[in-house]
Symmetry: C3
Subunit: 260 residues, 3 copies
């Protein structure tokens, strides 16, 4: 397959678009629609270096962040489900994971889109484990949060000295959410990385970029590919921040240095 | 009330959810819905340390920022009105206040949601004072803006050397908006803090966090609680920026230091 | 025309609002609606220092960024089309330009709004040049992207060492998009500046503010006016970042210094 010819790029792009969105792509009626076909689906999605499941997670999380018109988000969900790249149960876990890193308010948009597409496809509801099903000892819950933080972030956890650190980060985010069985850690990374990229918040951008590579969830070349794939959906300016951070943290991890 | 048992947490969460959203909460159908009940309404909204009126203002402003699906925003507005935590007239003032700190474009979403809920509840329209009802002398208007800035921000005002400072900050934001009688200053703080947290803009985040405490509008423990409450709605990464700023500015204000 | 009298300000604001949104403005029913008439249309849009075409581009790009309720965005598009400030073909180019700097996901919101308004006005579809219609040599494509980057940004281009720089910035953003004939470079600047302001990303904010003035696309006084006009739509906190950057980069460009 050569993409050096514009007609070929359009042909491949249209084919990809139909497959990835789970429905026949209509011919572009506007310039923007032509750019989706030729550039987004013809050039970016065809690149090697990052698997399709990861690209779906990044696209879905980013479309949710941007409050995307529902047909963009619905298309990616439908494509991921019909291609078997993500199951309905995994998408439900992804919506909860998104809630933490992108806010509960916007997560409703994702969860509702998943319901709408699942209904249209005639899928039965997915079971889910309860948030927690056993009573807990507050001290033990905090200790678990602390241990999980270290495992996921590859750095020490913050002390539980504020409501945000205690009731938020330790008790819920790392105590109850990250370790849930319904979605693997690599998938959770892409949702996290997309949401922190969207947030523009420097420290989480740096710490999660470091942890993605230090944990072995993603290689440096995959992170480089992430920057481009995120950029088309989440915007070039925000991607430029990720680009600089990936280059910096890639060196840090390669040299075996701790997060700083 | 103990929240150490998951069944009890779900029960309290569901009860709170019904009360705070002003309508019976259906049983969760998805994992995300379960997390709203168990974590957002069962754990976060039940915390002491910040009054319910403040939590409503933060939730409403944040849902508007995030372009939340209308049923999240509508629910909070309905709850605040039916519980008497905010009046219709106050919500109209909050929409104008939001316009300044979150942009006029998104403020339309809030104002429209308020109209929709008020109509559904059969409330009569709220009167409002005009933006300004007396002629003004441009010099006096600027002088008033300057004085109000000092009173609200507890720091010197910028000189009117650009259109933004003169025609924006001094003439309108502090000259006409902050001092309006329909909403108290503490309520305006929560809307402001939520919007600057969402913006990610370092200087306003720092100056408004400082001013919130230096003015006596909020205590340090309330600001700590704000970080967690904002975090669930506006996202953990953006809340982490507020957490660091609250810790820094809390020390500054406790030591009687000026903003810097 | 004097705006020192509130009744006169309301009258002028209402007249402007009808003209700029291409439809008779109803009397305000809420405080927020009164502020649109009196402040946004009565004070800000009436200022000299920036032409109406530029103000439309900033307003349209910002409303798209903020996921504005459709009637805000639709109103500006209808006004720009009926006043002849922007053609349908130019709006289609602006949607593609927005995709790069604000993300493809949100760009769909703009493109769809343009279609809706054009249909309502009975306009025939606008033709557009294909993204690319001739085969290309990969090396030449990169070389063109490099040369265009220098011309547009008035600074050296990044080397093509990552997927983002090679497949994104050089091959597409500067290789295929910026130099398209359907929209002039000054118009593209306003879309770009609005999107980078919204992104909050420091480096693109600085580089595009510098380039806007260094290229001669906008004068320093126009950039000052941009800050206020952007501020009303995109929020005061984000505008404050632009204000500081415009002051810094204005001095740099006035002194003939390179970007740094």
């Amino acid at each position: 397959m050569s993409l050096l010819d514009p007609a070929e790029r359009s042909r491949v792009g249209g084919q990809n678009q139909s497959e990835l969105l789970g429905a026949p792509a209509p011919a572009p009626r506007t310039l923007l629609e032509a750019s989706w076909r030729d550039y987004v689906f013809g050039e970016v999605w065809t690149r090697s270096g990052l698997d399709r499941r990861s690209r779906f997670l990044i696209s879905i999380a980013s479309a949710t962040c941007e409050g995307a018109r529902l047909d963009v988000l619905d298309g990616y969900i439908r494509g991921a489900l019909t291609l078997g790249e993500l199951t309905l149960a995994e998408l439900r876990e992804a919506a909860l994971h998104f809630a933490v890193y992108g806010g509960w308010s916007r997560a409703v948009g994702l969860d509702t889109a998943v319901t709408r597409v699942a209904n249209a496809l005639g899928l039965p509801p997915a079971d889910y484990s309860p948030i927690r099903d056993e009573p807990w000892d507050p001290k033990q819950r905090l200790a678990e949060g602390d241990a999980n933080f270290k495992a996921v972030m590859v750095m020490p956890a913050p002390p539980p000295v504020t409501p945000y650190f205690e009731g938020g980060i330790l008790n819920f985010v790392f105590g109850e959410m990250w370790m849930r069985p319904g979605l693997d850690q690599r998938a959770r990374r892409w949702v996290t990385l997309t949401c922190v990229a969207d947030s523009g918040a420097t420290t989480p951008i740096r710490s999660h970029t470091y942890a993605a590579m230090a944990s072995g969830n993603a290689t440096l070349p995959e992170m480089q590919e992430f920057v481009l794939h995120y950029g088309i959906h989440g915007s070039w300016p925000k991607a430029s921040v990720m680009q600089a951070t990936v280059l910096e943290m890639g060196k840090r991890v390669a040299n075996g240095l701790p997060f700083e």
